[in-house]
């Protein structure tokens, strides 16, 4: 069936089974790379995107639930030439090793900072709890989110 999804501010008409998880539509139909397949079980957060203003697991969210909702991925935050504040912060802190988990981390962090621009260290850790990183980049991820919060507050 055909369904209209609003992704990163644009409407896209997608032809897919309604039980298709959003992740597969983002990656294959819309050719967006950021959200990643990690587990398909909601256990790792690599697929995290924002719907309206909340972070969600796109691997477990059927597109049938998303008509009329505003979906955002890391691609909406900026580009390599013009990175957004959160992207800038991750680059400045060199907050990646393999980087596979990072877009999911960023969308969860983005949702946090939009809701709570002055998030404390503890609040950042709490918010990121659903997302796994295997390289052990955690310290840098926390620092990057703090840095982004400061940058956004100063902007």
């Amino acid at each position: 069936m055909s369904i209209t999804l609003n992704v990163n501010g644009e409407d896209h008409s997608v032809d897919a089974d309604i039980d298709t998880p959003l992740l597969y539509v983002l990656r294959n139909d819309l050719k967006l790379n950021a959200a990643k397949f990690g587990c398909g079980l909601g256990q790792c957060g690599a697929c995290t995107v924002i719907v309206d203003d909340r972070p969600i697991f796109s691997c477990l969210t059927p597109i049938s639930l998303l008509q009329g909702r505003k979906i955002r991925t890391v691609e909406s935050l900026g580009t390599p030439d013009k990175p957004g504040p959160l992207q800038r912060a991750f680059i400045d802190e060199q907050a990646a090793q393999c980087g596979y988990c990072i877009p999911g981390m960023m969308m969860r962090a983005q949702a946090l900072l939009e809701r709570n621009p002055h998030a404390s260290d503890a609040e950042i850790r709490t918010a990121l709890e659903p997302n796994l990183c295997r390289c052990g980049t955690h310290m840098r991820i926390i620092r990057a989110v703090k840095r982004a919060a400061n940058a956004m507050a100063g902007a």
């Binding site: 890391v74 990646a96 980049t137």
Partner: protein, 758 residues
């Protein structure tokens, strides 16, 4: 990321034929110009009669021509080739820094081609923290020699003494007018063999090396760029999924191949013996078809796994061949106190966040092209060619990044599965990604190990007896032959894994770091009880045996220090065999505030040291834990690492890798063990195999680096794994007065130790 996209038609030959490759007479670079090679005791220049070629620095020794490493186009564009692969460890950036430094160029203006069987030198595996020693050294020396060739060429053109010229920003300066690199190489060839010695830029003059440089791959990764093999979308690409058996020894009885073949979008169901896979147009269609096929499949299983309730005994009961790792051939004398202990390590997982993935296509020219995040494109090519019954020249493996692998995970298996499926649909690219359960249950784990230590002190509190034994498989079961690929074992005509052989060499395997070379010991005896059988699939996990060996040895040293009544740091310093080892010990202790430690209830401090592989980086770590005595839960509070990686290329890269190593090792050490019953692996996701989450992240990890200008690069990426485990055990010992010997230190074990110990 120009290496992505449709299979490139580039070949090395085409590259060399391309306009304006660098050609120079090798004789222009006289041997007298070379300075001391910092990375190897360079032999004297080969005499014409000598049949044996000289040893060249790093991987230059196996890929001896300069154009294997550096290419300069007529427009001045410099391309650097490495046989190593970016695994998220930042090797691309560090190699670019080496090349840029010696070529006097902006590193961001260089192009880099990484592992590709058609383009790059063959550097084997990207493993063992060897990338900088192998490839970094080769690229740096090649770049320095190319720079000198350019200067020599300019001197010839300008008819001046080369010593009056220097290279800067893509030009040779010092003459009447600047000469661009591109102009100097027009119409020439760099297909010349490198020399043993290079005129390396002195550390004091570094502009790029030794400085933090932002990783070149990070901007793409944080903006949703094309960064991973998972992101490849070739024209007409299909999606494949495998259906794995429920257990290692299962054979397929029946499956609804025809029915699944009729599902929407399904292009083909592949069945070959007990191997099952589906290929579909859409990825979700492939997943659904895979599930239907899995539901329909009937298997015959048989138990084959060791008794998980008695794993150490099970491991020790497997047939073993003894190898001597170290033997002073002297008897211990003057022993007045002894310490003896058994240690165990479970099977542990790489646990990549992204399940392994590959894209393969059988072209009309009969060439199978495979995009893979393997750690070794050449060995993987060999294995896949054997699997498919194709000539190696008809298989091309191109490295494309995956999620961090930390060793031999499912990457090669995914490449093989993609190739098997691509062969079933000629012409069509097929992308295969494993499901989480498949990655968890089928990757080759870090092997379970048992170790035994018995050591003694003399009346002065010095270690005078050191007896260490370990029971372990080999930690290397990588491709090279098809039997190393999991799917190959289930085909109608199956391939068997290669027999493992005991080999004791300086790199080490199960015995890595088992020789206590870091300490001055009058007597030592170290035996590896090499286990040949592999009841559970296993291979290389970051640090190999060093993780468990350093844990065992440094836990024992801690107890010996207690027996001697000495401070843990002081005791290690008294035994340190190498001043550089002593330096990192002092650095970590000082930065931690070891001597100012204030004991408090439930808190403990721990220390450990090892020189990775006994010839790579020196790592010392001091850390603090907090133990909840009711629940047994352990929290790492803070850690200070002192590290000496030789000449520093990218200090932030060293820090990033080391911080990551501490956290990953902490997760292994506190939480991780692969679970199984007698038939099946039962660690199939992050519930059944939990790893570190943010709630347990320490307050701080600080990495301090000792700069060693002019010294050889020392591999960094795996150096923290063993010391972190030992320091955690030592800190728990300090906090609760009881030592833990059986990894991991889950709360129930800490609690049991508390109850038993008091």
């Amino acid at each position: 990321m120009e290496e992505f996209g449709a299979p490139s038609s580039l070949t090395r030959r085409r590259l060399l034929q391309g306009g304006g490759a660098l050609v120079m007479s090798f004789s222009l670079l006289g041997p007298a110009r070379g300075q001391g090679n910092p990375d190897a005791a360079a032999p004297p220049p080969a005499a014409p009669a000598a049949p044996k070629p000289p040893t060249l620095p790093g991987s230059l020794n196996t890929n001896r021509n300069l154009d294997s490493w550096i290419r300069i186009d007529a427009d001045g564009q410099v391309t650097v080739f490495t046989g190593k692969a970016e695994l998220g460890q930042g090797v691309k950036t560090a190699i670019l820094q080496c090349a840029a430094e010696e070529l006097a160029l902006d590193p961001l203006k260089l192009k880099l081609v990484t592992a590709d069987t058609q383009l790059s030198p063959n550097e084997g595996y990207t493993a063992g923290s060897m990338s900088m020693q192998d490839s970094g050294t080769a690229v740096r020396n090649a770049a320095a020699q190319v720079r000198e060739l350019l200067i020599a060429q300019a001197a010839k053109q300008l008819n001046v003494d080369p010593s009056t010229l220097h290279a800067e920003n893509g030009q040779v300066l010092g003459g009447p007018s600047p000469l661009a690199y591109g102009a100097l190489v027009a119409g020439q060839n760099l297909h010349v063999e490198a020399q043993p010695q290079s005129k390396l830029t002195p550390s004091a003059s570094f502009k790029v090396m030794g400085k933090p440089l932002g990783r070149v791959d990070i901007p793409t990764k944080v903006t949703g760029g094309l960064a991973y093999v998972q992101d490849l979308r070739l024209d007409g690409m299909l999606h494949g999924r495998v259906v794995r058996p429920p257990s290692y020894k299962a054979t397929l009885v029946d499956a609804d191949v025809d029915g699944v073949g009729k599902l929407p979008g399904v292009v083909k169901v592949v069945r070959d013996g007990s191997y099952l896979a589906v290929i579909a147009e859409g990825e979700w269609q492939a997943v659904k078809a895979m599930r239907t096929l899995a539901r329909s499949a009937k298997w015959q299983e048989e138990p084959s796994l060791p008794d998980p309730a008695h794993l150490p005994d099970a491991l020790k009961s497997l047939a073993a061949q003894d190898g001597t790792v170290a033997d002073s051939k002297t008897a211990a004398t003057g022993v007045v106190k002894t310490f003896e202990a058994w240690y165990t390590r479970p099977y542990q997982m790489h646990g990549s966040i992204g399940p392994s993935c590959a894209v393969a296509q059988l072209g009309a020219d009969g060439v199978m092209t495979v995009y893979t995040h393997t750690q070794g494109v050449y060995p993987d090519r060999q294995a896949i060619a054997q699997l498919l019954g194709m000539d190696q020249s008809k298989v091309r493996c191109i490295h494309a990044e995956g999620a961090g692998c930390y060793g031999h995970n499912g990457a090669d298996d995914a490449a093989a599965d993609a190739a098997l499926m691509a062969r079933a649909v000629p012409g069509k690219p097929v992308r295969v990604q494993f499901m989480r359960e498949q990655e968890h249950a089928w990757e080759p784990y870090g092997p379970g190990m048992v170790t035994h230590f018995k050591g003694g002190l003399d009346a002065n509190g010095r270690i005078v007896a050191w007896d260490y034994e370990l029971w372990s498989n080999s930690h290397g079961a990588r491709p090279g032959s098809a039997g190393a690929l999991i799917s190959a074992r289930y085909l109608a005509k199956p391939f068997q894994p290669d027999e493992q052989k005991l080999s004791i060499n300086p790199n080490g395997s199960g015995d890595r770091n088992a020789d206590p070379l870091g300490y001055n010991l009058p007597q030592k005896h170290v035996i590896w009880h090499f286990i040949k059988d592999q009841p559970i699939r296993q291979s290389s996990l970051r640090a190999l045996g060093a993780y468990c060996n350093v844990f065992s040895m440094e836990s024992s040293v801690d107890e010996l220090a207690r027996l001697a009544g000495k401070d843990q740091v002081q005791f290690r310093l008294e035994h340190a065999a190498d001043p550089r080892g002593a330096d990192v010990i002092k650095l970590a202790a000082e930065k931690f505030g070891w001597s100012n430690w204030q004991p408090s209830a439930g808190h403990g401090r721990g220390f450990a040291f090892a020189r990775y592989k006994n010839h790579a980086c020196y790592v010392a770590i001091a850390l603090e834990v907090e133990v909840n005595r009711d629940s047994g839960a352990v929290r790492l509070v803070r850690a200070n690492v002192g590290i000496d990686s030789g000449e520093i290329v990218n200090p932030d890269g060293i820090r990033n890798q080391t911080e990551g190593g501490v956290l990953q090792s902490m997760s292994w050490t506190l939480y991780e063990a692969v679970t199984f019953d007698r038939t099946r692996i039962t660690s199939v996701d992050w519930q059944t195999y939990p790893i570190l989450r943010f709630g347990a992240v320490p307050d701080s990890i600080t990495v301090d680096i000792i700069p060693r200008p002019g010294q050889p690069f020392l591999g960094t990426g795996e150096g923290a794994q063993g010391p972190t485990a030992a320091a955690l055990g030592n800190a728990i010992r300090d906090a609760i007065g009881v030592r833990l010997y059986d990894l991991p230190f889950r709360p129930e074990k800490v609690k049991a130790a508390l109850l038993a110990g008091k």
